[in-house]
């Protein structure tokens, strides 16, 4: 075991896989010599060479398109998109090609591409360095979508994504790269080294895709969250003083509905939270799916707490961010409902 922050855990996952599997290649803007703008690929080019860890031209459509070609030709590409906000030039390649290649060729062609991309706000990045577009990808059949909330999961899930045979869009909440963040920017940052999930095996291990995890057991209400919001949920639960069960969704698609519904049927109340905008957001899918199975157990309407339906404003980051106060208010409100 070693203490790792999230960036180190991701780096370690790629290191392990580059070492174990000669088919694995890494490509993206500034990922090679420089080691990536967030340093997630630091040292990998030096270790594995320029043919396996490639700097690319600035062209996300080109990066994804080339990764598809490489994947179809027997490699296992890990493509980094520097910010999720810059994934859109590659959107057509992901939606029309990557997601459907296996289906349209009746299984004869497929491209096992993993796309890593930092998402989320809280770093003063304004509208072009803060987005959480997971719902856009969750809506596409044929790609898996993942968002870890801690270094241990980040490494285990990334290895699963790389080892799998299907394309994965792997969102990395950049605000928690260096430490868990509970939504209060006034507090001094806590490092991952003081968090149990900052303990990460150095070698190979996996966390399976498609499984949610109960990170806090409770009886009164279930909070469904992922990424940074898992930590915000913990703070909100303390603030609201309720005995809440927090479920880290982790795998956005495919979704582990069993774990979610088991929890909600038990508690009878549910709050769904994410940082992304609310309207048409992934929370809507969670609410709909959960109520289909848990309707007769519910004591109150399921509430959503999410980013406002606006672009992420530079000046009002903390008014925009669905912080612990808003989540706590929703928890109290579902508890009061009769």
């Amino acid at each position: 075991m070693a203490r790792m922050n999230m960036v180190q855990a991701l780096n370690s996952a790629m290191d392990v896989m580059l070492e174990r599997d000669p088919r694995v290649v890494v490509l993206g803007e500034d990922v090679g010599f420089f080691g990536g703008v967030f340093r997630a690929t630091e040292g990998l080019q030096r270790k594995y060479g320029e043919h396996r860890v490639l700097d690319t031209p600035i062209a996300e459509g080109g990066i994804i398109g080339a990764a598809i070609g490489m994947g179809a030709n027997g490699l296992k590409p890990i493509a980094e998109i520097q910010f999720a906000d810059y994934i859109y030039p590659g959107f057509d390649q992901i939606v029309s090609e990557l997601a459907r290649l296996r289906y349209r060729s009746a299984g004869e062609f497929a491209a096992p591409v993993t796309i890593r991309t930092p998402c989320g706000g809280g770093i003063r990045g304004g509208q072009t360095h803060s987005q959480s577009p997971e719902a856009l990808f969750a809506h596409v059949c044929g790609i898996k979508v993942v968002m870890p909330s801690n270094p241990y999961d980040a490494k285990g899930l990334l290895i699963s994504a790389i080892e799998g045979e299907d394309p994965v869009v792997f969102f990395e909440p950049k605000r928690i790269y260096n430490g868990p963040f509970d939504g209060d920017p006034h507090k001094p940052a806590t490092p991952w080294s003081s968090h149990p999930r900052g303990e990460v095996p150095e070698g190979h291990f996996t966390v399976p895709l498609g499984r949610a995890e109960v990170v806090r057991e409770g009886r009164d209400v279930s909070v469904l969250a992922y990424g940074t919001m898992v930590h915000v949920a913990e703070a909100a639960v303390r603030m609201a003083g309720v005995d809440a069960e927090i479920v880290d969704v982790r795998s956005i698609a495919p979704l582990d509905l069993d774990t979610l519904c088991t929890s909600v049927c038990k508690t009878g109340r549910c709050v769904v939270i994410h940082e992304a905008t609310r309207f048409g957001g992934y929370g809507a899918e969670l609410v709909a799916s959960v109520q289909e199975q848990c309707f007769w157990n519910l004591e109150a309407p399921i509430l959503r707490v999410a980013g406002w339906d606006t672009p992420y404003p530079h000046a009002f980051e903390w008014d925009y961010f669905p912080g612990p106060h808003r989540v706590a208010a929703a928890l109290k409100s579902v508890m009061e409902a009769k």
Binding site: T128, H129, H186, D309, H314
Partner: protein, 427 residues
């Protein structure tokens, strides 16, 4: 051994700790490149893409057919604009280092690309810059206070706190809104120019893109649309050698010049010494004249060097020799224009030092004023409820509901004594 393919991976001539090496930059002597008529057919002037238009020689004299023969007063204005741009950049970087703004991008070493081009156009020509042409704002006479307020996201921020620093826009100054997403402005400039042609207007559009960003599909869309419709647009590609950590070879500069892409689309491609104020002015003038008389688009590759870090988040010593900029063969645009004016007998070091002092004082005064409209840590601040405005022309009900919800949350927070949200940039 049977033949096998092998992947070619471009590598820059020098990495940290190595000697800078710019031998790959092909440079024509000043005055050596012929200046064709603006009506020339693209295919007859393809060699412009391979040579380098230069006017200022090593002896600081202006020579050759591209000499725009500007009056000394105009040259002095150009020098002043470039110097102001540089001092503004230096100040804003310092201010960022003190934590008083969140981010900044300098244009140091590339001032001529914006300033000379901006001066060769008319104020009604529409500009679509990237984030590194603040010189255009200076040329168009923008109050620096406005730029500073944008960087501060304060009560006088033209973007109402919605954009990161340097993502300016200026409707009345005919400068389009700067995007954080690379290359998107290029086809938009073409569309704007097409509209000007549809409406039969006499002004044109100009856009700027980094050589790194020219790898994006948007660059190629722009080139093809511009060629197909012969749009009145100037497409400037700023080859400053580096795109964050990747050198220009990764954008395709190893095998051809960037200007050579023009002829491939049937567009004249001109390669110019981007640190030569007079040369940049002259080729812009040529392209503008051509566009105004229905001659269509021109691609201009400005060969320059990004002397500063990519941004305040970047540390270039990790990927290029620290002193690489000193070895840059095309010198510094400010110094070269200054030396030219001195050679003409129209400038002195004393006047230069005095001008620098004046401009410094001006920047200081502007910053003092900007701060009175609010800073990150105090003073007046924008109303967060404005974040719901301007998403649509009319606010739809879901946004109105969210705005009311936020208003209630803020009121409740105030009543309970906690701050609902810390000030804009803390934490």
């Amino acid at each position: 051994m049977p033949p096998r393919s092998r992947l070619h991976v471009p590598s820059p001539p020098a990495r940290p700790g190595q000697e800078p090496d710019f031998s790959y930059v092909q440079i024509s002597p000043a005055g050596a490149v012929a200046r064709p008529d603006v009506t020339a057919r693209a295919r007859d002037i393809e060699d412009l893409a391979l040579q380098m238009v230069r006017v200022l020689g090593d002896d600081h004299r202006a020579v050759g057919p591209w000499n725009p023969h500007l009056e000394p007063e105009e040259l002095q204005v150009g020098l002043r604009h470039m110097l102001l741009t540089r001092l503004f950049d230096d100040r804003m970087q310092k201010i960022q280092r003190q934590g008083r703004i969140s981010f900044y991008i300098k244009s140091t070493g590339e001032e001529a690309v914006a300033v000379a081009a901006g001066m060769a156009l008319t104020p009604r020509d529409m500009l679509f810059p990237s984030y590194r042409q603040q010189g255009l704002q200076v040329v168009r006479g923008r109050n620096l206070v406005d730029l500073m307020c944008q960087c501060l996201s304060n009560t006088r921020d033209m973007c109402k706190g919605r954009q990161m620093p340097i993502m300016y826009h200026w409707g009345s100054g005919n400068i389009f809104s700067i995007s954080g997403n690379l290359a998107t402005q290029f086809p938009q400039a073409v569309g704007w120019a097409m509209a000007a042609a549809i409406k039969g207007e006499d002004h044109i559009a100009a856009s700027w893109i980094g050589e790194g960003s020219s790898a994006e599909a948007d660059f190629h869309y722009a080139m093809n649309f511009a060629a197909v419709y012969q749009a009145p647009v100037i497409l400037n590609l700023v080859n400053n050698q580096w795109a964050i950590s990747t050198f220009q070879g990764f954008a395709g500069g190893e095998h051809n010049t960037f200007a050579q892409r023009g002829p491939g689309y049937g567009i004249p491609g001109i390669r110019v010494d981007g640190n030569d104020f007079l040369a940049v002015y002259a080729v812009t003038q040529w392209a503008a004249q051509r566009a105004r008389q229905s001659g269509g688009p021109t691609l201009i590759e400005h060969v320059t060097y990004r002397a500063a870090a990519h941004s305040t988040s970047d540390d270039p010593s990790r990927y290029r020799p620290k002193e690489e900029w000193r070895a840059w063969p095309l010198g510094d645009p400010v110094e070269r224009l200054k030396d030219h004016l001195i050679a003409l007998g129209e400038w002195t070091q004393e006047r230069h030092t005095a001008l620098e002092k004046d401009l410094e004082a001006h920047v200081t005064a502007c910053w003092k004023e900007a701060e009175t409209y609010g800073t990150l840590s105090g003073g007046p601040s924008l109303d967060p409820l404005t974040m719901f405005e301007d998403i649509f022309k009319e606010m739809p009900p879901n946004l109105a509901r969210e705005r009311d919800e936020m208003r209630a949350l803020r009121a409740a927070a105030q009543a309970s004594g906690q701050s609902a949200a810390p000030r804009a940039h803390e934490g």
